[in-house]
Amino acid sequence: NAGVTQTPKFRILKIGQSMTLQCAQDMNHNYMYWYRQDPGMGLKLIYYSVGAGITDKGEVPNGYNVSRSTTEDFPLRLELAAPSQTSVYFCASTRERQIPGEQYFGPGTRLTVT
């Protein structure tokens, strides 16, 4: 199992550009999550999904969009990049009613918006 994979590892965007952060898991997990991590601020939930075709907002969804067409993939879309979106982005997954709270994290994508 590759677990949770994320691409790209690093990206520099100019203000106003768009991009999609990719996330895939091969563990047949139905729950998937996107977090952003800023220094000294911990992790903030952006969006999450409880299954294919179902997504919901987390704590900081503004400026982002998601889709979940398959169980395996959960891409995060930035439409108009802003400097405030400079952050490290983590994707995570878990299986419903497996071990509560045991989320599996990807290695992260470091995004800089200039």
């Binding site: 949770v4 000294g40 992790l43 419903e96 071990i99 994290f105 290695p107």
Partner: protein
């Protein structure tokens, strides 16, 4: 809703010294509690968890945490740290009533173990 407060943002210690990383939580319902560890340039990994039963839980690498309901705390301890324990540690909470299994994380504590 739940919230987590990690009382120390940075904890420097010497190798083989004991360490305690403090975590307090707030919730109106019963909770599950977790400690996650993040080594440099990596994602988070689950270190240990409290779901029910014994209030003292242990990890495979010598860490332990004690759930204290009256003080709403879940402090992480290790009696003797190694250089390899240098990492950022996150306390997290989720409602025990289930649902989307969303975690609420604290802001993290950077543990630096010096030789």
């Amino acid at each position: 809703a739940q919230s987590v407060t990690q009382l120390d943002s940075q904890v420097p210690v010497f190798e083989e010294a004991p360490v305690e990383l403090r975590c307090n939580y707030s919730s109106s319902v019963s909770v599950y509690l977790f400690w996650y560890v993040q080594y440099p340039n990596q994602g988070l990994q689950l270190l240990l968890k409290y779901l029910s039963g014994s209030t003292l839980v242990e990890s495979i690498n010598g860490f332990e945490a004690e759930f204290n309901k009256s003080q709403t705390s879940f402090h992480l301890r290790k009696p003797s740290v190694h250089i390899s324990d240098t990492a950022e540690y996150f306390c997290a909470v989720t409602s025990a009533q289930g649902g989307s299994e969303k975690l609420v994380f604290g802001k993290g504590t950077k543990l630096t173990v010096n030789p």
